[in-house]
Assembly symmetry: C2
Homo-oligomer: 312 residues x 2
């Protein structure tokens, strides 16, 4: 069936215009409106029922909760959400929480107060149970696995198991892990997978989010010398770059002195030849948006890909 | 004078809580409220008058217009805005426009309809005149120089002149430029500066925004051989990284075969040893937010710093 992109193309208007017409939104010229309606007839377009459900919302505003904006992971997920929202003429209200529960609650209260048509949690500090209580007031979607709420996620346990298998195949024996938080479902899954693989708490480094954190962990590792891991699975590419740079400055070699496997596969991993687990983050955002319109509980697991480079 | 960060620290509550108390915002426990008010007395805190002006807005919502979220430049400016907004208990409504005028107009109409307390343009497709007409409905701030609207900006003309001087001092004679758009005030300033420095249109490459664009420009340059520039001033670090990677793949050397000077000084420039013009982007976002509360026309010019590395 034709989608609104096809309509836009055939009617020679923007996707935004088509979605405006579908949602009886103002600021569309009569001429464009007629062009779109004509084209919809020609292409036998049936308005997407999910889209209808959502468009019945009063505010046309979708809330997005995330801890930090300037992190590739979150800005890409946000980008995916924004792309789909824009197609449907929705606006995004942004809640940058820095993992403060009270800011997450503020977003939930806006949903309860019908100031939002739906709410997407890219990550959370509140418990899933706390968030779920607000589900009665409007659609809520999580970007992590949930048994009760609509969610889109990747299998973090499997991603670590895959990383460990890859590193062992490459001859590394003592594998460590860096993480940002010491709580959160995805974090717990990664830790569980590392321990199930036979590795120990002492090689897990927390508080690893930025390049500076990576440089600090690198200095710790250099002090440990041979008492440290010979390979690290790392929070994200930025932390990995910090470790890479600090090792290089100290005349150490990657992967000879330390093998690096990171997450997100951003440009910096490509440029520094760091192996990285690629997650479909734009798709995660788009899926999260689409899940807002699905009434019954639905889980979407997204695949990940391990991209090997010189660092392992 | 003590600011709300000091209060938060002394009262042992979050900055958000302090700003909530200042703005008579709900969801603050009576106990915390009393602690904050007490501390304010002790520290002789006088509520910032600008903050008051803004907090009189009905919606407590600030609109932010930007073309793309997942660009270090824009996500950092957005981050600065979000930080200040959060301190004052404001929420951000995000308009990702991809430079579509009709989406920019949608944001302006929300300001006119009093659905926003203020609007910040990180970049624009509409003319300044079009935007200015809405100034009567509420505060509008631009992140580029304007003679009529409050604005925070850096001097793009000067930044190019500085870059050219640096490259000439390093012995480069034919200097080219890459840009994203072929319109927009900042773009025009950069082009004007390059031409005033004696260089030519033929060495200006447009449509340079992402790493892939950089790789494509690199391939063009490799075809040009000695008929091309020996140094490039580049849109941003990501494009520079694309050029760097493609040259490296073809066995070419930076800076011997081509000198690179880029903008933004993000992690990737640091990691690849690419010289870059550092802009205080977080500060730009924070300044843009503060300008929303200043009734009379005010311009803030932010300084830039050229950071030299191995690529020049």
């Amino acid at each position: 069936m034709a989608n609104i992109r096809d309509i836009a193309k055939a009617a020679n208007v923007s996707v935004t215009t088509v979605s405006r017409v579908l949602n009886d939104h103002p600021y569309v010229s009569e001429e464009k409106r007629r062009a779109v309606l004509e084209t919809m007839k020609v292409l036998k377009y049936n308005k997407n029922l999910n889209a209808v459900t959502l468009s019945k919302g009063k505010t046309q505003i979708i809330g997005v909760v995330l801890p930090y904006i300037h992190q590739p992971f979150f800005s890409l997920v946000l980008n995916g959400i924004a792309r789909r929202a824009s197609e449907e003429g929705k606006t995004i209200m942004l809640f940058q929480t820095n993992y403060e529960e009270e800011k997450e609650r503020e977003a939930l209260e806006k949903l309860k107060g019908k100031q939002l048509d739906g709410l997407i949690f890219c990550s959370r500090a509140l418990s899933q149970a706390d968030i779920q209580m607000y589900g009665q007031h409007g659609p809520v979607v999580l970007c992590e696995e949930s048994e009760h709420m609509n969610c889109v996620y990747m299998n973090h346990y499997e991603s670590i198991v895959t990383g460990v298998r890859h590193l062992r195949r490459r001859g590394y024996e003592r594998i460590g892990l860096t993480l940002n938080r010491n709580s959160g479902r995805n974090t717990n899954e990664r830790v569980r997978a590392l321990k199930d693989s036979g590795f120990h708490d002492e090689d897990i480094f927390y508080g690893a989010l930025n390049m500076e954190d990576g440089e600090e962990i690198a200095r710790e590792l250099l002090l440990l010398g041979n008492d440290g891991p010979d390979a690290l699975i790392i929070t994200n590419d930025t932390v990995a770059a910090g470790i890479y740079n600090e090792f290089r400055r100290r005349g150490k070699k990657i992967p000879d002195d330390l093998a690096l496997l990171s997450y997100d596969n951003q440009h910096i991993a490509q440029s520094l030849e760091i192996s990285s687990v690629q997650l479909p983050l734009l798709e995660m955002g788009e899926a999260a948006y689409s899940l807002l319109s699905i009434p019954k509980h639905k889980k979407i697991e997204l695949p990940f890909t391990l991209i090997q480079r010189e660092s392992t």
